[in-house]
Amino acid sequence: MTELIEHTTATATGPTVELSMQQALNRALRTLLSEDGETLVFGEDVGALGGVFRVTDGLQKEFGADRVFDTPLAESAIMGMSVGLAMNGWRPVPELQFDGFAYPAVDQIVNQVARMNYRTRGTVPMPVTLRLPSFGGIQAPEHHGESLEALFAHTPGLKVAVPSDPGEAYRLLLQSVRCDDPVVFMEPKARYWDRRPVELGEPADPVGTSRIVRPGRHGTLIAWGAMVHRCLQVAELAAEDGVDLEVLDLRWLSPLDTEGLAASVRRTKRAVVVHEAPLTAGLGAEVATRVTDACFGDLAAPVQRVTGFDVPYPAGPLEPQYLPTADRVLLAVQRTLEY
């Protein structure tokens, strides 16, 4: 994929190094484990192996097997254990190995983690950050390419973050773990090996804010995770035809940055929301509704959605036909221009 220049709104300052997203996440975990002795990292294969994506590589060696440890293979107990650790004053950063394996833990995530602060009227906070390698694009086996963001964003009490590049991954993970609310941190697997210069500084933008990664005048492409890069590609292609597209990285799917969305679309008058998850009841519907509510008078066309199809996530050869293609996004842009 072509490297594209990014225009981030983050104003963090710190040393700049070239890192992949997987390395940036590793750096963030090292920072977090160093700065707070109550932070714990655990999950399946996160210890000696360093995680199947090596995000926790070297952490057990550096911080000890008390603070970075392997668990037996049981996702519900991993999340349930996180609740108990948080109740005892720890700051758990569990990993569930793949998106599809979060389903066995949904009871603990939705019924317990998300509600404990509410159930106890604020006396038992849940500063739990669930790291969840997510989304498709790597031709993985079944249950290794799922997009669960609508489920989690629909759950009161949870926050949901999705980084789209290494620098964002570093900053968003720092913010998520430091946040005293539970956060589902969805890591786009397809971008783990994406290397870029990363500024290892403090996060500057508040939780719940989106960012413009490319300014434009004729329409806004709204995306998160790997689809941000798909949209940047589309913007490059559209620019060849004189169409100047803005790309908005939503990055926090809960809370949703309604103001940020509205501010962009009020200027560009057109919006296309792009996600990997299936269409029906996907988060794109919520985004489209919020944009429409906020910008109805300014919109030149109905908000378009380009998403996965309403089918189970397909196997390798069909994956590129399932995921939103540049052509599909371009066609949606065209529909908004010709409306």
Binding site: P72, A77, M81, S82, V83, G84, N88, Q112, R121, V124
Partner: protein, 345 residues
């Protein structure tokens, strides 16, 4: 069955316990019994939308909870642990508020009480106990987590996952199963393959103990041993306290549809409060007049709790939004304004 156990028939013995302790156990069990009776009445009067009785399980709950150090250990209940809450020193008006449906988790302070919020997902809090216990060991402290669950919850994956985790980590957890023989309408023989919950402990590398759950002295002995073992760093224990749910599953239930009266009446006659009272008298730990005084004090306490929960104010509607997150969000603030404009009475 451990030493001192009654094997489920005949009188029980409290000779191995101190008189102070047996009188304390009696006071808690008597209070819980009276409060249970008052709670059923409140449901009949329409004050509680529903209630789940602990009648018949007071020995299992009080005997185990009293084995804990309430300033050091932590209890993880589900939703039928009123007698354990009473014995653990929980603010009982706040506890019973859950049954009045004032707030789902109850209105007591979970952290200060060291007693988890009322939880309707049976089995769900069991891994919380493991996490808490792992955290306790990591910080070098010696507290013990006690997780309550029932014969129904013993089928839940979370319970099995938790026992395995605790076994692997050697975590200081007491898994305390109150086998009251009925998971709502389903009896043990349709619930528990292999016929024994305590026997499953072997597969998780921990001791499994079957105890007469209506014999408070036996329960207390088994729980004390498990707590001491956990505190010494020797890992978890599974205790199965065999008891019986003499009341319906809840005030909304109709047990006539699934079980006969004969069995229930037999268990009603084996009443744990009566058994303890007789054992105290037999052991000379107290006389009739002292026990009568305790009865009076227990009833007064139950009435105080009843009146307290009946008179407790309903939560303000604004509380709908207060504790979803540590702070509010723009969207929740917007929805709160909608509530103020369109709903607030």
């Amino acid at each position: 069955m451990p030493q001192n156990a009654s094997a489920g028939r005949g009188p029980i013995s409290v000779g191995h316990l101190s008189p102070d302790l047996t009188r304390e156990l009696y006071r808690h069990m008597r209070t819980a019994r009276d409060l249970d009776t008052e709670a059923i009445a409140l449901q009949r009067q329409g004050v509680f939308p529903a209630y789940v009785s602990v009648r018949g399980q007071e020995a299992a709950q009080v005997g185990s909870a009293a084995a804990l150090d309430p300033g050091r250990d932590f209890v993880f209940p589900t939703y039928r642990e009123m007698a354990a809450a009473q014995a653990h020193g929980v603010d009982m008006v706040g506890y019973m508020a859950s049954h009045r449906a004032l707030w789902h988790g109850g209105l007591y302070d979970v952290s200060a009480s060291r007693f988890g919020a009322v939880n309707a997902v049976v089995g769900g809090p069991v891994p919380h106990a493991v996490g808490w216990a792992v955290g306790e060991r990591l910080s070098g402290a010696d507290g013990v987590a006690l997780a309550y669950f029932g014969d129904g919850a013993s089928s839940e994956g979370d319970v099995h996952e938790s026992m395995n985790f605790a076994g692997v980590y050697g975590a200081p957890v007491v898994f305390f199963c109150q086998n009251n023989q009925w998971a709502l309408s389903v009896p043990n023989d349709r619930q528990v393959a292999g016929g024994s919950i305590s026997a499953r402990a072997q597969g998780y590398g921990m001791p499994g103990v079957l105890v007469d759950g209506n014999d408070v002295g036996a329960v207390h002995a088994a729980a004390s041993e498990a707590v001491a073992r956990a505190r010494r760093g020797e890992g978890p224990t599974l205790i199965e306290a065999l008891t019986y749910r003499v009341e319906p599953h809840s005030t909304s239930d109709d047990p006539g549809r699934y079980r006969g009266d004969t069995e229930t009446e037999r268990w009603r006659r084996r009443d744990p409060v009566t058994l303890l009272r007789e054992a105290i008298l037999a052991a000379g730990h107290a006389d009739e007049s002292a026990l009568a005084e305790t009865d009076t004090a227990a009833l007064e306490e139950a009435v105080r709790i009843r009146d307290g929960v009946a008179a407790a104010p309903e939560p303000d509607g604004a509380e709908l939004f207060t504790h979803v997150y540590r702070g509010s969000t723009e969207e929740l603030a917007r929805q709160r304004r909608t509530w103020q404009e369109e709903v607030e009475p």
